[in-house]
Amino acid sequence: MAEKSIKFEVVTPERRVFSADIESLVVPAVTGYLGIWPNHAPLVTALDIGVIQYKQAGKFKKMAVSGGFMEVIDNKVSVLADTAEPGELIDLARAEAAKERAMRRLSERKADLDVKRAELALKRALSRIKAAR
């Protein structure tokens, strides 16, 4: 019964991003960061924009996700996100540029600014930068 690994799967509407056995992970749930270890109780949670950190073969790795939700059952974790990018595949320069753009937009406060959208863009850019480093 006492499993030592978790099947971890990340899918987006466009493709399956990740699928492998891992040791543990921490996800950005809407209620705050949530740690999952093997033999976790069944759980369904909505996810926030942020970084998933997981431990695979003794190494910590990161992945940027935006929104979606996660299901945990029988040592299997399925993350369904709008977008998901493993940290090593993120173009840091592009993420930085997106951050600058979002910050500029927010600081200019033009009349037609969609504040919520700009804030989300900033949040996404920040999480991607965090995952890439």
């Binding site: 399956r16 209620t31 759980l43 369904v44 949670t45 979606g68």
Partner: protein, 283 residues
């Protein structure tokens, strides 16, 4: 009988048409393969979201969300997904026919959200009300496109522009067969999971909190899938249509070549008999 020269000219013309249809067939085949991969890649997400939602629906009595609200139907929104281009057999016509049937079967007021040029042009010509239109979706719809569209539809429903929204699109069966389908999008009626595993889940932040997140994603997935299926169908239909066009052109060419040879032989025969006749007259 047409002269040999006329026949030669027709054969040349048909041959160049055949070249075009052949090229289109091969392009469609390549695009179809790509579209098919996207359809398959979208499945795991869709299955999972259906599964989780289905399980939640059964256990959240008294839960309310604007997407689930059933109103008295005054106006129905039809989201009709067609292609931007023709030359794809009955693909666009089948979708449009389905939409026409829908209108004929209901007494309610109907307005359109048309995706694809063909559908838009058709309904505009007939003076139907088009609330929104989208053209040039491209050959590979992205999830972002599906999401944007879904957002617009959610707004149209929650603002009360429409009291029911249906999707009419082509379901991809195989390269040979595509089936137009009508699907109710709003109000959302997720099917409860039949053989739900009897597991007590922890819901964070709560069942209704998860539902609030899940429903928009669910709608987005459905819309995105409809776009994908429709694209794959379009490429499939075009490939089949172009394949048979190429075959037909081949048949016509064969027939014309036969006629050409006959005409040529007839001309030779006439010439010979004229020469023989001339020679006989001299003796």
């Amino acid at each position: 009988m047409a002269s040999a020269r006329d026949i030669r000219r027709r054969i040349r013309s048909i041959k160049s048409t055949q070249q075009i249809t052949k090229a289109m067939k091969m392009v469609s085949a390549a695009k179809l393969r790509k579209a098919q991969t996207s359809v398959i890649a979208a499945r795991p997400y869709a299955y999972k979201i259906n599964e989780v939602l289905g399980r939640l629906v059964g256990s959240t009595e008294g839960y309310f969300h604007p997407f689930l609200e059933v109103r008295e139907v005054k106006k129905i929104g039809l989201v009709v997904i067609t292609g931007d281009r023709g030359l794809c057999g009955g693909f666009n016509a089948n979708i449009i026919r389905m939409a026409e049937h829908f209108i004929a079967d209901t007494e309610k007021e109907v307005a359109f959200v048309s995706i694809g040029k063909k559908g838009r042009d058709y309904f505009r010509r007939r003076g139907r009300e088009i609330v929104e239109e989208y053209i040039s979706i491209g050959d590979n719809p992205t999830f972002i496109q599906g999401k944007e569209l879904a957002k617009r539809l959610m707004a149209l429903y929650t603002k009360g522009v429409f009291d029911e929204i249906y999707l009419i699109y082509s379901e991809f069966r195989s390269a040979m067969s595509q089936k137009p389908v009508t699907m109710k999008l709003f109000p959302v009626e997720p099917a409860a999971e039949e053989n739900a595993k009897d597991v007590e889940y922890i819901y964070e932040p709560s069942k209704s909190g998860v539902m609030d997140h899940l429903l928009p994603s669910y709608v987005e997935t459905i819309v995105y899938r409809a776009l994908l299926e429709s694209k794959a169908s379009e490429h499939g239909a075009r490939m089949t249509a172009m394949s048979s066009a190429t075959d037909n052109a081949g048949e016509i060419i064969a027939k014309l070549t036969l006629n050409l040879n006959r005409a040529r032989q007839a001309a030779i025969t006439t010439e010979i008999s004229e020469i023989v006749g001339g020679a006989a007259a001299l003796q």
